[in-house]
Amino acid sequence: MTSIDVHDLTKEYGSRRAVDRLSFQVLPGRVTGFLGPNGAGKSTTLRLLLGLDRPTSGTATVGGRPYVTLADPLRRVGALLDPQAAHGSRTGRDHLLALAVSNRIAADRVDEVLAETGLAPAARRRVRTYSLGMRQRLGIAAALLGDPEVVLLDEPSNGLDPEGIVWIRGLLRALAAEGRTVLVSSHLMNETASFADHLVVLGRGRLLADTPMRDFIDARVHPRVRIRTTDPAALRTALARHGHEAVEHPEGHWTVSHARVDDIGPLVSAAGVPLLELTTEEGTLEQAYLDLTAADAEFAAPQHLRHQEA
């Protein structure tokens, strides 16, 4: 079992700290979502992990060893950093073949990953003719080439069509189910929520959270009950009697915060309130994430500056 260990990792560019004393661990058998706004240090962390950038201090290891000391590293770690990295004048197949040969991976594997990523029909076309989605698939094919225990993908859903997004979701879950260590960075909350089991959240180079996704959401977003009724007055009275407060929404429904359907259902039923709808409103990753970042005052303050950078 191969885990990723990042310990006290710091990277400074001039006076700017892109990664600030970052420590976390990525374990096998689950998909870890690597979250944070653009510029939070996600891509820098991945580059440091792959030995492409040199850390100012701290360590990042794969299976206890620095990446650069691995023999035939593509057989241990597969990474997608930039879908544009393949040379436009080369065919997709030749791009993968060159990579395979460098790590003594059988050429058959090239055709396997081309088929797995749905690129087989385009394999002998020049990369320049590929759409962004196809380049993403080529980058993912390159990451899978060495059948690695560790898979690192930087924003893999970028540019994928809806079908591709469904595909990558299934792929990530399957890789984790096979016991691999899967780290997927994204700034898209709903997308990450659809595949991640665990979250590592960065803000301005620092670790903001490292928790299972369900815990992350439950700790920050309180459950709510959504009700629609033909008799708002009766609803309000019934709820008030048990200490709950209903808030009306312009769309015509009511919500009760800090409550569960198990409590509210019997209560309104006993009071004879006519119901059109009674449902749980699950907290979303997006709500939890915004709650977290709002709580981190220093992080939230220069929001407008980051927008300008982007």
Binding site: D53, Y67, V68, A71, D82, Q84, H87, N103
Partner: protein
């Protein structure tokens, strides 16, 4: 361990070279331009007042542009869109990667330029009335091969330092076409030690500067080595 890991890296770089049309095109342009311009120059001279060997090898001045283009494009592709990151993720040892890259710059140019030199010498030797002697022709052929290889390596090293093919070509090509030309026949001055002037002494029947054919090539080699060391240092020090 080291040698066993070098062969796959070398094989990879060779695949990357042969699968790029621009690379194959630049390699083919070495013999085409050299032979064509040599023949053109030979047809326009009566062979009496000029250096017989250099008349035969006149086209090398143009062939070197192709060699430089080959050395530059082999490296410049790595500095676009994070291609170097993919390369170094597959071969994390930067020295090993750079050595493999330089090998596939040097070896194809050496082979192609040697063939080019032999053809050029044969064509030049066949020219009446005063073509170069066979011994001179052989020296010219060998010199042509080594000189063009050194220029390709110089370009590869400079591209690694500048991290840009456009920057390299916009320095080297005007330098070779203009600076050396303007300095012209002024000999016995520091300009003799410029890489192209020094390296091309081997293509002359006679010389009167400080450098002979082999010392000239040695000076050109020093330039190439300096560029390669600077490139290796930059590659080693910088984030990819």
């Amino acid at each position: 361990m080291r040698t066993s890991s070098f062969t796959p890296a070398l094989h990879t770089e060779w695949i990357k070279t042969r699968t790029l049309r621009s690379q194959i095109g630049a390699l083919c342009a070495i013999p085409l331009t050299t032979v064509a311009f040599s023949a053109l120059a030979a047809s326009g001279t009566d062979g009496t007042d000029s250096d017989p060997l250099f008349s035969a090898f006149f086209g090398v001045s143009f062939g070197q542009i192709a060699a430089i283009a080959f050395g530059t494009t082999a490296v410049s592709g790595e500095f676009r869109n994070g291609a170097l990151r993919v390369s170094l993720a597959s071969v994390p040892h930067r020295g090993r990667w750079f050595a493999a890259k330089l090998a596939v710059v040097a070896l194809p140019v050496l082979v192609v330029a040697l063939a080019t030199g032999l053809v050029t010498a044969a064509l030049g030797g066949a020219l009446p009335p005063s073509g170069p002697s066979p011994a001179q022709g052989l020296r010219g052929a060998l010199g042509c091969a080594v000189y063009l290889t050194l220029m390709a390596l110089l370009a590869a090293g400079l591209t690694t330092v500048l991290r840009s093919g456009v920057a390299t070509l916009s320095i080297l090509i005007p330098f070779l076409l203009i600076v050396s030309f303007v300095l012209g026949d002024l000999s016995g001055n520091p300009a003799d030690f410029l890489p192209d002037r020094a390296g091309q002494v081997v293509l002359h029947s006679t010389w009167d500067g400080a450098l002979g054919p082999w010392t000239g090539l040695a000076v050109a080699a020093l330039w190439a080595v300096a560029a390669l060391l600077a490139g290796a240092w930059r590659l080693h020090r910088r984030d990819a």
